[in-house]
Each structure stands twice: as structure tokens, then as C-alpha cells.
Symmetry: C2
Subunit: 200 residues, 2 copies
DNA sequence: GTATTCTGACTGACCAGTCAATCAATCATC
DNA sequence: GATGATTGATTGACTGGTCAGTCAGAATAC
């Protein structure tokens, strides 16, 4: 019934999930591979059976998550007619990703998208794809006359995605978990702030 | 003529400035103390004559710069009557700090304000002071009826300061230096975007 | 019986921080 | 204005600990 190497696949997953917790708790540079093995309840050497290096573990985590991100942005773009709804769907997806697995989002943001000297550099092209897709959403909204034309789309994308990441970063720095109400409030405020600004 | 320990003070400064370049180029975790000594043209041991540890060098750089930051925000708040002008003055100061010493700003942002597991945590209280001051500016503008009241001030501060940091991060990830025109354009767009938003 | 998963002791490189020794400047005394 | 004493700056070889990655073999599955 089970796939031939069910166990193997599971162990790989167990290691990945343990790595998320360890990276989130101690940071990539500060933790040791032995910590990951311990957290996974697995022998040290097994980590190197499934991954060729410590770096490859983080690369894998990032790639899996970022693929989902880009798919969700494309989906949001295709599904909704209005630009505001598109941005809302994107914000919702990212905030919900945090709700579902805060540790993973912490690792992705802290160790990859904001790590200008290490993993951020290696994954730069892929990270930029997200910005480009959002810029596209803004550009088309401007062409339709829904958005002002004096803010250039790449800059608008920076402001929008930047705000989302900034909100997550705030939560990441906080010690206690974030409650449901705050998650929902953030979704609303992010889009409101991006579309309408502060002045009345 | 010269102060008694002129040389001493200079060497300390030389080491700090070398550290900025090395941290910016290689990152705090990746570089060795020997790299800093080499860059400063100084013997390895001298670094430990002026600083008790590698960490203390980064702490010093952060503290010096952040003090200037907080002073500039307070100054902007005191100097200008309108909230928009206050935000413009703050954005100008930070963008100009980047213009003057991009390496230092890179180090502060990448290694401290966004390093959730290491220095960001130790300097958290001081970082929050900047957010709190900006939130105060927004709060008073709301009380005066200039800003909408349905965005809470701490969130607005997150969006504003977050956008500034996001713009710097974009430049940090880029390889080529940023031209004057782009710096000035960013100053304008940051405030425009924060105050007016995207929708027309 | 063989292929794969799994184990954990081991190694080799690396690097933060120490320290004993040298050097340079100022001061104190005659 | 020479001589020695004191203080602080400067040097770089060395140490002790850490840790990523290896490997030889045991266990398990098929």
C-alpha cells in the first residue's frame, strides 16, 4: 500500500521540519548540524544521507516555500478582477502562511530574503520574481486608471511587499504568539495603507 | 600641539572604519577578526586592545549610528510644524546617511535591525524607540485632523520606517552604487506613498 | 544476499581570544 | 639635557574549543 520508500521520504521530511524549528530558535549560523539531528531524533550522519550540506537544507526550505508563494501570487492575479482584491489575496496568503507555520516564515525572511551577504544573494533572482509579479499587478491597475500613475510600479511593489514583510518581522521579534484578531487586522491594514495612505 | 593620545584615538577609529568595510563586504558571521586587522593595517592583537570582542565592534557601530538616528528624528519632530514635513525630514536624513556611508547603513540594517536571532534582539529596545517616536508624530497628526484616524499610529510607523528600510535593502542588494537622482526620487516617493497611497 | 537506510566516532580545518614580548612616548631625577 | 623608569601602544605566534563533513560498518528492508 505504502510507497516503496515511504520511510525514507518521511525521515527526510522529519529532518526538514526539525531544521525549521532549530533555525528559527537559534539562527542558521549559530546552530550546529548536531542540533538538527537531535531535534529530528536521528543520527548525525543521516542528515548527510539526505542533504549534501547544511546550506542545502536551508536552500530546500526556501525553494519549497517560495514556489508556493509565486504560485499564490499568480493565482491571486488570475482570480480577481480588481487590483485591490489581488493585493488583498496576496497579503492574505502570506499572513496565513505565517499563521500556519510561523517558524518557517521566520527562517525564510530572516535567513534568506533579508540576508544580503549569504542566501539572499544566491536566491536573489527568484526573490525578485515576486516583486516583478506584484509590480505587474500595479502597472495594469494604472493602465486601467484605478491607480495613480505617478508612483512607478516597481516602487509600489517594494512598498507593498515590504510592508507585509515588515509586519511579519515585527511579529518575529515579538516573544509571544500573535492572536487571530491581530492577524486579520493586519491583512486589512496592509491593503488599506497601501491603497489609501495616511492623509485624509 | 596634538592631544596626548591622538594616535590612540585614531587607531580605534581606523579599526572601526575597517570593520564597516569588512562587515559590509563579507558579513559579520563570515568574516574573521584577522580580516578586520588586515583591512585596518594593524596587528591582530591590537583589535583586542581597543575592543573586548568581535561583537563589541558591531555594538559600537550600531550605538553610534542609532544615537544619531534618534537625535535626527527628535530634531525633525521639533523643527517642522506639519506632519508631512516631519516625515520628509526623517526620510531625508536616513537616505542621506546612506548616501554618505552606504557600507555603514548596510551593516546596521543587515546585521542589526533585521537580525532577529542575534544583534537585533540585544538592541531591540533601542530600535523600538525610533518606531515609537514616529508613531508619536502620526498620532499627533491624527489628533490635529491631518491624518486619517482608522490606521493606528504604531502600524503607520511600521509602514513608514519599513518602507525606508526596504528601499535601502533594495539598494544594498544591488551591485552598482545608486545615483544621486535615484536617491532624491526615493525621498519624494517614500513620503508620497506613505501619505497618499496608490489609489486615485 | 544485496541494496538501502541508518549510526556515531572521528578528523581536519578554522578561528576567537590570550599573552608574553617589543617598542615608543612621556615623565622624573639629577 | 642626559639617564633611567613608567605607562600605554603594538605585535603576532599560539591555544583551546568548536563544528562541518567523512566513513566504515551495523541494521533493516526487500
Amino acid at each position: 500500500m505504502a510507497a516503496p520508500n515511504q520511510t525514507a521520504i518521511d525521515k527526510r521530511r522529519v529532518i526538514l521540519e526539525a531544521a525549521v524549528r532549530v533555525f528559527a530558535r537559534q539562527g542558521f549560523h549559530t546552530c550546529r548540524v548536531a542540533d538538527i539531528a537531535d531535534e529530528a531524533g536521528v543520527a548525525y550522519g543521516l542528515v548527510y544521507h539526505y542533504f549534501s550540506s547544511k546550506d542545502e537544507i536551508l536552500d530546500t526550505l526556501f525553494q519549497e516555500r517560495w514556489d508556493a508563494m509565486l504560485a499564490a501570487i499568480a493565482e491571486a492575479d488570475a482570480q480577481h478582477p480588481s487590483a485591490r482584491d489581488k493585493l488583498q489575496a496576496i497579503a492574505d496568503f502570506i499572513i496565513d502562511s505565517y499563521r500556519y507555520d510561523p517558524d518557517l516564515m521566520k527562517v525564510i525572511i530572516v535567513e534568506v530574503t533579508r540576508a544580503a551577504n549569504t542566501f539572499g544573494r544566491t536566491h536573489l533572482a527568484r526573490i525578485r520574481e515576486a516583486y516583478d509579479q506584484i509590480a505587474g499587478v500595479v502597472e495594469r491597475a494604472q493602465a486601467e486608471g484605478l491607480f495613480r500613475r505617478d508612483i512607478d510600479p516597481p516602487f509600489a511593489a517594494l512598498a507593498f511587499y515590504g510592508l507585509v514583510e515588515q509586519v511579519l518581522t515585527r511579529w518575529i521579534f515579538e516573544s509571544e504568539p500573535v492572536d487571530e484578531q491581530e492577524l486579520e487586522r493586519a491583512k486589512r491594514l496592509i491593503v488599506e495603507m497601501t491603497c489609501l495612505g495616511l492623509e485624509r
